[in-house]
């Protein structure tokens, strides 16, 4: 029996949808429940995700499954060096009949944008996403177009093959909420995967949306309402300050990054059934949140984050 039976999350419909989402994503990406949980946190925190790993590990599959579950339009953009900004944001086309320019929406107007191999796009094209990701709007021909409030970018990139790629700039990275690595599945999961392939059951994930219209927005609003006490806020500020003073960190945590971290922590607290953020939420989401914005490799980041957390005392429990 749980200690706290009624929480802010005590909405049966939301709970059921979340379970279904978890099941569906775990079906699409087998043997990686922890990554699935982080992806769910990113979705609930209304943040964008960067999946960085080797080819063939299921990045795109996961992104497609998530997009399908969220509902709405899914736009996939295969980033290549010849991809232009207008190919992402959209462009104005002169209509001969009406003798007027008409705006043709790009993929950013979908609810979920899957930017595959994002580091293969040129910096000019990558920059086209800056405004969209940060402000959920695009400006074309001096005209502002609002995107969906649940606009979600799931970008993937390959850390191995760096030939002909452009690393994402820090400003772009800071707009992602988390950077996740999937990693190779465990041998038993791979065996199971092969078995399903022989039965032609692999990849048969339903593409029906799980969230009813407005439900995801409501859940994201509830997540944003999870409280963070002054002690926890002070703890996060101290952690951010430590990242800025750390000798190994080239780029400390920005205030936008700190806000993102808080939102992800709120999502974790909400998923845990709590109406408040605890230091555990902050610590547990530290690595994926900081991994994308400290300018370090994955291996370096693990050590640095551990060091930062060990140097910063948690708030007192007894006042």
């Amino acid at each position: 029996m749980r200690l706290m039976q009624e929480t802010v999350l005590a909405n049966t419909a939301d709970s059921a949808v979340l379970d279904q989402l978890r099941t569906r994503l775990n079906t699409a990406l087998r043997g990686k429940p922890d990554v699935v949980e982080l992806v769910i946190l990113g979705l609930l925190a209304n943040g964008h995700l960067l999946l960085e790993d080797k080819p063939g590990l299921g990045k795109t599959t996961l992104a497609r499954a998530l997009a399908a579950a969220v509902g709405g339009r899914l736009a996939r953009c295969q980033c290549t060096p010849d991809l232009l900004p207008a190919d992402i944001t959209g462009f104005s086309l002169f209509n001969q009949k009406t003798q007027e320019f008409e705006f043709r929406e790009g993929p950013v107007f979908a609810e979920v944008l899957l930017a595959d191999e994002i580091n293969r796009a040129t910096p000019r094209t990558q920059s086209a996403l800056l405004e969209a990701m940060a402000e959920r709007q695009v400006t074309v021909d001096a005209r502002r177009y609002l995107l969906s409030p649940q606009f979600l970018v799931i970008a993937t990139q390959n850390p191995v093959d760096q030939h002909g790629t452009w690393p994402l700039p820090e400003a772009q990275l800071d707009r992602f909420s988390m950077k996740l690595s999937i990693g190779y599945p465990a041998p038993e999961d791979e065996s199971q995967m092969l078995l399903l392939a022989t039965r032609q059951q692999l990849g048969t994930v339903p593409d029906t949306p799980l969230f009813s219209p407005g439900q995801l927005a409501a859940v994201q609003a509830a997540v944003a309402g999870v409280s963070a006490s002054e002690a926890v806020r002070d703890y996060m500020v101290r952690l951010a300050g430590t990242t800025r003073r750390h000798a190994s960190v080239p780029l400390g945590l920005s205030p936008r990054g700190l806000l993102t971290w808080l939102r992800v922590s709120q999502a974790r607290a909400w998923v845990q059934g709590r109406s408040f953020v605890s230091p555990d939420d902050v610590q547990d989401t530290a690595l994926p949140v900081l991994n994308v914005r400290l300018g370090l490799s994955m291996q370096e980041c693990v050590g640095v984050v551990e060091e930062i957390l060990s140097q910063t005392p948690v708030p007192e429990y007894t006042g």
Binding site: E37, L41, G183, G241, S275, P279, V314
Partner: protein, 832 residues
Amino acid sequence: MSAEIPLRGRVRSTSRPLLGNSAVAVGGVSRPAAVETQERGVHALTVVLALLANLVFLTTEADGQRSNASLCLQATLESLLVLMAVIVVQRGRGWFAAHPLQLPLALIVLVGSLLWEPLQRLVFETGRPFELLVMHSQKNLMLALAVLGLTAGFRRLSVFIGVAICIFCCALARETRVLWLAAAYGMLSISWLMASYWSGLQGRMLPGQRTRLPRRWLLAAPILGLLTAAGSAGGGHQVISAVRGFLPGSGGDGEYDEFARGGVNDGDALVAGKDDIRSFGPLEDAPFADSDKPSLYDVVNDRFDEPVRRNRTFQPAVALPPELMAEVRQRLSEVRQAGREFSLVRRKRTQERRRARAVSGAAMFYVAGRTPLHLRTEVYDIFDGINWYPEGSPSDAIPLQLVHVAGKPWLKLPHGPRGLELFTHTDQHVLRPVNLRSPVIPGPLDLRQLHIDRVERPDMFAWHAPGVVRMTGETLPDLVPIRLLSEVLDPERLRESSGLLFASGREVLEQSLPEDPQMNHIRQLALEWTSGLPRGMQQVDVICHRLRTEFQCVSNTSATEPSEKPLTDFLSDRRGPEYLFASSAALMLRSLGYSTRLVSGFYVRPERYEPRRRQTPVLGEDAHFWCELLAGPGTWITVESSPGYEVLLPPPGLLERLYSSLTGLLQLARQHWFLSGSMFAVLAVCIYQRLFLRDALQTLIWQLFPAAAERGRVQQTVRLMERRLALVGLRRPAHLTLRRWLAGLPLQQPVAVKTLAELADAAAFGEFGGESTVRSDVWRVCNQLQQQLNLQCCRVAAERRRASMAGVVHDGAAAGFVPSVSTFPLGTLSSG
């Protein structure tokens, strides 16, 4: 094993950000709760100090005129009043922050205390003297400031006034317990200083920097101070006297302060008494009074019976030069006429006569300074087999000089050249004759300077014997302090010295032995005792040691008929009075070729020391004989051969004091063996079961003082659990959350652990309680947690953790807290 811990309450949801309940915004900057907690602690300590100072004042004011019960009642009532006021002020912190009325309130208390006095005198016809009235108003101001001490300034002022009150009371009070209370105040104020400093430091630290108040040192520092003071006190009167030497005085300790107030300490500005002048300390301006007092002759005879006059001719065993022999005969003739010789043949007096002439009961003079002390009055060098004849006074070729030191006249006693550097320390003693009719000034060996206030003429003094000075009048002035400055020989340096000659070539008489059959016996015994030993201090030591250990000292001769061979009888009977011990030692050493002399005088016994008057009385029964040995040119040393008497040593060093304290403590423990054994056993049990006892105490406090609100109760429980874990060595690292720390521990109560972590999180970071939370459920769950996660459970977990760490089975959850992507410990909603 684990049980379900259901709770029918809930953590209320909220959409607004929560403020920490203990956070107070000051100047736009929020203050951490830790700072608030520490400030409250300092405030509480300030109140305790104020109450202690209040008790000091009340005790002083009572001046022993009120019963203890009435005093306790008043102190208790005032303390309760203060505590209630503190509670009111603490609860109204916010109000006082908005309305800074502390200063006007404190001033009202001060003025009210002063205005109350005329009213009291008018209505109740009682009142206080002016100085007590002032201090009474200050005391009330101190209490008011302590009560209103929400800011550091008020607290500091309160403690400052408390210190002033304690100093005032110590100067005024006549009761010893005031000093003890003031000492306790001093000890506690050390803790206050530390806590106050730490509290101020905490408020000035940068965000992100944290420090812990060293709570152990808050207790340890005063206890160490207390132990040091107790250790010094345990060293006996010598140590106390030595410690006093470091303290300033107004003249009593040799320091002189022209600004010293009359009536303070025992200085030279002390006001003379009127009724019983002898009850006061040494006085410079006391009136000279004549009375029927015993002379030195009476004292010696009363102490050692009356001599039997038998004139003998001095026949030295070795031939002396003719001119010296003539001088000796002249001197002996003069001495016999003056009756200054000392005979070893003495007759026991009848009881009636003894009672009629007894002078031993009253103090003859008082000595302030280190003891034990040998004060010389007569020096004997010639022995004819029965009588000792005093040595002649130094010739006028060695004039006494008067020098002025700090405006005071000091008589300087010159001494001849010395070949040895054995003196390491200069001692000062103050003599105050009260009942002695003699012009001879008793002084220690190696007396160097002498001071009697207002006596500025050297011709008022004359030599009496080597190193002994007398006044030219008939007797010493009564009650006039005589300050003596002497050098103290270091016995260790003496024994390590390689230049000891034990002769200077001139002391022929000090080596002379009479032609007497007793001398053969003495010589044989000396050779027997020192056979195989080299010439030097070893021979001296063994003679003294055997005399002190194998012979019995009796105050008077037991035989009614005087013995013709007192020394032979003494050496065969192995018992006798002190002069026989000293004579035997002197003659045995002479027979071995050493230069010795017999000395008579007084022995200042340390056991007679009166701590309150800081002086030692010397009675007639303290008349004493001892021996002096020539160690080298101009260097005589005291040789004490009588059991029960000690020689003054240089002041002890720190280690010696500690050793003395320790041995004193051990001696005390041995005297009260049952009590000390019981205490030791209880202490051993307490130490062995210290974890259990500490936990029991903490649990008792947890049970006796529950918080009023649910959140507070949960936080109390969390604190208790954390302390319990810390007791068994599982103190949570500051950077680990409670949930993660508990999850990493091999505790066998998973449900309780989970519940505790959830409750701790909710109480600390959530909005706990509310209308839907059932108070009894919170209490019940906390009780169950306390019972399930008991000390035994924590001990088992600690042992298992140690075993797992020894086996390098590292617990990842306990040590590393950064979840890798592949092991992210995120719970799921459905599995929750």
